[in-house]
């Protein structure tokens, strides 16, 4: 391959590049130092003529690896979109001329900057190959849906309607889940005035009639192995028999468990059958079968019903849920209507602190409840005192500002939802971290959620049996823009396992998850990456001879993509891989690489800048910038002509997690005076799209101080920052600060 | 333009010897100039304003206005009912709307009206005189009749409550209606821009029962007019006019202020601007004399 490589360098002189920089010098550098086969200059490279020129070379077999020295890699992508060749972009516009003053004094250092970027691009290109899918990919349009509740049924049906068969695995003996328990649901259509039919029966009928949906009742998932496009799922029935199916992707719709109201003795739950949860009231209504619900304790007529909102929720008390389950306000309105619609003479009072009925339908439903005579009282219930004939609900009326009480035949507790999310692979890790940080103070609300859990998916993954959880046990991704992205590729969670929600939302969520599952199988079938590098064909491979089986890569992969084979070598499961390169950054022996992104593509760039000697007073600063946030921020700094030091050389990286410390030590050894790593925010509100990349980089870099000390270098020479895409002014400032630091502490002694 | 005819509900305070009799005089002059014929509803009764509620329940009060409307339907068929008093307009229009929405109330009302030999069908629109001026004439047309522009007078347009809420004048906001300002401008005078208290309450009927509380409100209304540099205040409401005008001495005594600002009706301004005499414009009805208007009227 290497000997066939023909490298073409194309230098654009448009947008002022030609006016500010010496193009012929860059051509010379490209061919002489960068070892380009040839270099061409064009005054408008992104024009049709410019693009045609490059394409002609490609068509003629003149170029296999191209350097486009023009604007940023983020600009003019439509134009410079060449298939089947490796392309490196030297950012002469946003990265050089736009960040430098157009003055005589600046000319020399600006030119040096450009020259270096030509060298770097040439050496990057030299080590790149156009990525092609491996032959591991396979298309399997079959989906697995775990859970036969409203979410699972919806997901299976919606997928089937698009031509993707689905198998539902349901633990119990019937479909319907929690929704099947409901008498009616919160209305989902205008005018949002009355409780509506749950449509569970219709869905079940639809599923039975759909030949593309298979249902396994009384079944669980005993084992899931493989990767998107080629999952093998072992389904176990109650009787103990197992069968294995092959699926392309998985939707986990394992739903929720109702909160255990026994933890609410203050509300007399368990002390009298007249105190029930919302779910239990549904049972009572269903059992009454159209007749009036009677007082459970003695079968007497009910004349007063009190709904206690946020029962065991939105509370810091031990055993309570700290979050809001979101659906309960509307559910209480609906349930109050059960009574009001049957007999307007029954008093129904909802005691709430914040009535949460959002959206277009929510407010209408609230109004409809009021219209029907449901009384809403802003208050906090302190205690339910059981009586022989009715019970006393004591509360503080927050509007009238008084402690008072209300009599009730039936008290309904609006208790919350607990996600049925399986075993958190990182529970132990999190607990340890929490203990370290807070001691006793660890979030008590979460304790409830993690007692006695069984695995849902039984993933045969190195990093645990289930999808990682975010907070409170929910499998939320913490991405606002990409809500479905779990940390297990090709496995999507939907419904209340992901976030507390009602039926309408769960059905939307299920449909969305089905879309993502379909998206995953289609892309896995083509060997393409899933989010966030969707479409990327590159994938990691490793040099087995060099591997020490240290397991860093399998442990650090944020997506649990990497397993270990029998010989304890990593297996990358490319369709599980998100192509962030964290494994590459983790590898102490640097054997992991991608076709177009490797220790060499970056390392060669670092090594091939022209390093002035110590007395030139021209320090060199290396910036490794996350391509998603820091690099665009620097681009935009250029767009706005915000200047920064000409001594800096910026290399975009897929994720800070992919930064191998060797790059930093190499840089220092080869005479760089400073190194800056710019990654995304880490921690609870992480913004790293590879979840852990930035955090891992910070951890790794915290250990680099030792190396610096060994080299007798000041620790200030290496800085790791969290930089957001909006840090358009700050990122250049950080660079300039490093330049000042170097001025203060002096040049690196490692210049040869 | 052809003569415009309306069924007219003058209301108690406009009667001879009553508190806003001057309003009616100026309205009549204004209407003459605009070729408007007001056909008074024969034997109209009090609308009970918005203060009769202690003794009068909902149905009796609605019946009062329904009687006027029934009489209007009988004697001035097909004509929009026009009132000059804010309370009259409000009570009457409210009655028409409430009875229009509630068939039971409508039936009960007619049951009561039958005792007086009347039936209410709810056929006609109920309008305030200001609506007639703005919608049926428009500022441009109103401007054409100006013979003596009210030059050099700065006027605060005090809209008050009931001409403004809950119905208000179409296209105007509740918090910052601009029609009086536009009218003032049309007549050649200068409106007070951003008159802050233009829709503040003067206390209404509570000026009688809660004088101190009301006078505190009135004080702010006048103060704000002075702050805006006003020479006088103009209003479309008889209660507003009276409350803001007559208590100025009391307020001065209590707060040590030196209020002495004329409070006129829009019809007064129009009558003067349209060239009518001080008498026709009922300038004699000003307890605090509007000298600038007198000067123009006497020119």
């Amino acid at each position: 391959m290497a000997d066939e490589m023909k490298m073409g360098t194309y230098i654009c002189t448009g947008c002022g590049i030609g006016d500010r920089l010496d193009a012929s010098q860059m051509e010379m550098i490209a061919t002489r130092e960068g070892k380009a086969t040839y270099a061409k200059t064009h005054d408008f490279l992104c024009s049709q003529a410019g693009v045609d020129m490059i394409q002609a070379d490609i068509d003629a077999g003149e170029v296999s690896n191209a350097v486009i020295a023009a604007c940023s890699r983020r600009a003019k992508n439509e134009a410079f979109n060449f298939q089947d060749i490796a392309v490196s972009r030297a950012n002469l516009r946003e990265g050089v001329i736009w960040v430098r003053p157009d003055t005589d004094e600046a000319r020399e250092t600006t030119q040096e900057m450009a020259d270096d970027y030509i060298r770097m691009a040439c050496f990057e290109a030299k080590h790149m190959h156009a990525p092609k899918p491996s032959d591991e990919q396979s298309l399997n349009k079959h989906l697995l849906v775990v859970g036969g509740g409203i979410t699972g049924m919806t997901a299976a049906l919606e997928a089937a309607k698009a031509g993707y068969p689905a198998t539902i695995v349901e633990k119990t003996g019937q479909l319907g889940g929690m929704a099947g328990r409901l008498a009616k649901k919160i209305p989902t259509r205008s005018p949002y005035a009355n409780p509506a039919e749950t449509e569970v029966a219709d869905l079940i009928a639809e599923i039975e009639a759909n030949s593309n949906v298979t249902v396994c009742l009384n079944s669980t998932v005993a084992k899931t192995e493989g990767a998107p496009g080629r999952f093998d799922v072992e389904i176990a029935t109650e009787s103990g028999s197992t069968s294995t199916i092959q699926v392309g992707a998985v939707i986990q719709a394992s739903g929720f468990k109702p909160y255990d109201a026994n933890q609410l003795p203050e509300f007399a739950y368990g002390k009298t059958p007249d105190v029930v949860t919302q779910a239990e009231l549904e049972d009572l209504v269903k059992a009454a079968n159209g007749d009036a619900v009677k007082r459970p304790s003695d079968g007497k007529e009910i004349s007063e019903v009190v709904f206690v909102q946020c029962a065991g929720q939105r509370s810091d008390k031990e055993g309570h849920l700290s979050y809001c389950s979101g659906f309960c306000c509307n559910a209480s309105i609906k349930q109050a209507m059960y009574f009001k619609d049957a007999n307007a003479g029954i008093d129904t009072t909802v005691i709430f602190t914040d009535l949460r009925t959002p959206g277009s339908g929510g407010e209408d439903f609230y109004r409809s409840g009021q219209q029907k005579g449901v009384v809403f009282t802003k208050g906090v219930v302190s205690e339910v005192e059981p009586g022989s004939d009715g019970h006393t609900v004591k509360f503080k009326d927050l509007i009238l500002d008084e402690d008072t009480a209300i009599q009730a035949d039936l008290v309904v507790l609006a208790t919350g939802m607990l996600p049925n999310s399986g075993v958190d692979p990182y529970a132990a890790e999190k607990a340890a971290a929490a203990e370290e940080e807070e001691g006793e103070e660890a979030d008590k609300g979460d304790v409830v959620a993690t007692v006695d859990v069984e695995s849902i998916l039984n993933l045969d993954y190195r990093q645990g049996s289930d999808v990682p959880q975010l907070v409170h046990g929910f499998t939320d991704s913490h991405f606002i823009c990409f809500p479905y992205e779990t940390r297990r590729t090709g496995i999507y969670t939907a419904g209340p396992v992901r976030r507390p929600m009602d039926i309408a939302q769960a059905r939307e969520d299920a449909t969305g998850a089905a879309m993502k599952a379909i998206h995953a199988v289609e892309n896995a079938g083509k060997g393409r990456a899933a989010h966030p590098r969707s479409g990327d064909l590159s994938y990691p491979t490793f040099r087995k001879e060099g591997c020490t089986q240290c397991k860093r890569c399998t442990v650090e992969c944020p997506f649990g993509a990497i397993n270990e084979d029998e010989e304890r070598y990593p297996t990358f499961n490319e369709s599980r891989c998100r192509r962030c390169g964290t494994c590459m950054g983790a590898c102490p022996v640097r054997v992991i690489s991608f076709e177009n992104y490797s220790v060499d593509t970056v390392g060669a760039q670092i090594k091939n800048v022209d390093m002035p000697d110590e007395f030139d007073e021209k320090p060199r600063i290396l910036v490794l910038a996350c391509e998603n946030d820091a690099y665009p921020a620097l681009d935009m700094a250029g767009q706005n002509h915000i200047e920064y030091s000409a001594f800096v050389r910026v290399i975009p990286v897929r994720c800070l997690g992919s930064v191998n410390t060797i790059w930093v030590t190499d840089a220092l050894n080869s005479g760089y005076d400073g190194v800056i790593l710019m990654g995304c925010q880490k921690g609870d509100d992480y913004q790293c799209h590879f979840v852990k990349g930035s955090e891992l980089a910070h951890t790794r870099m915290s250990k680099i101080d030792d190396t610096l000390q060994q080299l007798n270098l000041e620790t200030e020479r290496v800085m790791t920052y969290e930089v957001a895409i909006t840090d358009v002014q700050r990122a250049p400032k950080l660079i300039n600060e490093m330049a000042e630091t170097i001025e203060k502490i002096g040049m690196s002694p490692f210049k040869f | 333009m052809a003569t415009k005819e309306y069924s007219f509900y003058p209301g108690c305070s406009s009667q001879e010897g009553a508190s806003s009799s001057n309003y009616l005089v100026s309205v009549e002059s204004m209407c003459e100039e605009l070729d408007v014929k007001l056909n008074t509803i024969p034997d109209w009764n009090c609308c009970s304003a918005s203060i009769g509620y202690c003794g009068g329940g909902e149905l009796p009060r609605l019946t009062l206005s329904a009687r006027n409307l029934a009489l209007s339907e009988e004697h001035n068929p097909g004509q929009d009912v026009v009132a000059t008093c804010a309370a009259c307009w409000l009570a009457t229009r409210e009655t028409a709307e409430r009875l229009g929405e509630d068939d039971d109330l409508m039936a009960e009302t007619n049951q009561a009206l039958a005792e007086a030999g009347l039936t209410f069908k709810n056929e006609n629109k109920i309008r305030h005189m200001v609506e007639v001026l703005i919608d049926d004439f428009g500022y441009e047309e109103l401007g054409k009749h100006v013979k003596k522009p009210l030059e050099g007078i700065k006027i605060a347009g005090y809209v008050g409550c009931q001409t403004n809420r809950p119905f208000g004048i179409e296209g105007e906001s509740f918090e910052n209606p601009k029609y009086l300002d536009k009218l003032v401008e049309t007549l050649g005078a200068e409106p007070v821009e951003n008159y802050e208290k233009k829709v503040s309450c003067c206390g209404g009927a509570l000026a009688f029962s809660e004088p101190e509380k009301s006078q505190a409100l009135i004080k702010e209304i006048i103060e704000s007019a002075y702050d805006g540099g006003a020479d006088m205040i103009v209003t479309p409401c008889p209660v507003c006019q009276m409350n803001v005008e007559v208590y100025q001495d009391k307020i001065n005594a209590k707060y040590g202020t030196k209020f002495h600002i004329p409070v006129t009706y829009y019809s007064t301004l129009m009558s003067v601007a349209y060239g009518r005499s001080a008498k026709d414009s009922a300038l004699g009805g000003q307890i605090i004399r509007a000298k600038q208007l007198e000067d123009i009227a006497n020119k």
Partner: protein, 210 residues
């Protein structure tokens, strides 16, 4: 029911709310309030209300019958309609206040010394008599509504205003003798009587609720 007063518990039944719905003008809107308080903040006499409208609505829901009906609060309404136009829930608050005041008066629970109570009643009596308001009589009856001595004081106090009105012919001593009137007083009175009967029957029928 250990430490909690039985009456207090009883209070929170919806009985009074239902009574208000049936017997008070526009009372069926009370349940629609969402306690935003915009009415209370919008009232020009706001600071003088013991219980502003939104609180009255909550008190009605909480069954505080006596406290509501004996309150002076609704008598503070100036009928400025600020609350109505600002209410996000479309409650005709002004009318409900009038309705509550009237209902309190009907039940004999209204605070009889409340000046607006008196004025409002005088006003009604005055207009009912002849079908039109006699401003002079109304004014004088007002001045003397707190008794003779107070009345003389008030009259003297207000003399300046009266004089101004007289001078500008906006008040006429003639009103004392006859004054304006509808012609068909008989029909007028029969009509009002009928309306009152119908309304009384309606209230009677529901009573205080069950």
């Amino acid at each position: 029911m250990s430490d909690m007063n039985v009456a207090m518990v009883e209070r929170y039944r919806n009985n009074f709310l239902k009574e208000v719905e049936h017997n008070v003008e526009e009372g069926d809107w009370v349940k629609m309030c969402m306690q935003c308080g915009v009415c209370s903040g919008s009232c020009p006499l706001g600071p003088y209300w013991d219980h502003p409208p939104q609180e009255l609505f909550m008190m009605i829901r909480a069954g505080k019958r006596e406290e509501v009906l004996t309150s002076t609060s609704m008598w503070m309404c100036t009928s400025c309609y600020n609350c109505i136009v600002r209410c996000p829930r479309e409650l005709p608050i002004t009318h409900i206040m009038h309705g509550l005041a009237h209902y309190a008066k009907r039940l004999g629970l209204a605070p009889k010394e409340q000046p607006t109570f008196k004025f409002s009643q005088h006003f009604w009596n005055n207009l009912v008599k002849k079908g039109r308001v006699n401003e002079l009589k109304l004014g004088l009856s007002l001045y003397f509504m707190n008794g003779l001595v107070e009345g003389i004081k008030t009259s003297l106090n207000m003399a300046g205003i009266g004089l101004g009105m007289l001078k500008t012919k906006r008040m006429s001593p003639m009103e004392m003798i006859g004054g304006h009137s509808v012609k068909d007083t008989k029909g007028f009175h029969a009509m009002l009587k009928k309306a009152e009967e119908i309304e009384a029957a309606r209230v009677e029928k529901y009573g205080k609720g069950s």
